[in-house]
Amino acid sequence: DARVTQTPRDKVTEMGQEVTMRCQPILGHNTVFWYRQTMMQGLELLAYFRNRAPLDDSGMPKDRFSAEMPDATLATLKIQPSEPRDSAVYFCASGLGARGGEQFFGPGTRLTVL
């Protein structure tokens, strides 16, 4: 049963600390998305990659967020320095890249910045 995995599942940190979230997409999927879910804003697209190349990161605060795909089996989302307003659930999703194709979501990382 192929699934998107994300680590850690929960992260509590203090303001100013660096946070790194990791995602392993489904094997063979060439498109990876990062979303953020908050009560106020709902689900927002932060960034996405195709074949490991970043295609759109317009949803990300560039001064503190960065997203990378070091290889086809790993995507990372880093926040440095973290702020309380970054507290949210961060989801990774993967897909086959076709515009009509569904995305498969991981379980999310719940981030709390104190």
């Binding site: 498109t31 998305f33 709902g42 697209l45 295609l55 009509g100 569904e102 979501f105 379980p107 999310g108």
Partner: protein, 115 residues
Amino acid sequence: AQSVAQPEDQVNVAEGNPLTVKCTYSVSGNPYLFWYVQYPNRGLQFLLKYITGDNLVKGSYGFEAEFNKSQTSFHLKKPSALVSDSALYFCAVRDNGGGADGLTFGKGTHLIIQP
């Protein structure tokens, strides 16, 4: 720009009754439409999608949705609700033309099925 509206924050239905969760959308071109379900502390699970063709789409767990182009709607339906259907439901859209590949989601609708 594309957008999705889910006008109801919460829908309450008695078990065994039909349910409808509403969704309307706005895109510049033609839409690809999706429904996802989220259970507490879980990621989103894909239910169904409309790409082209038949306006009535059938998906997982007995759910279906009807695409109505004139009303720009894609309401989710089920003929007989189960208590286990209680969850948070998201409608999402993507333009089938240019633009980003990411989905634009609605705010979500809490579906509560009462025994």
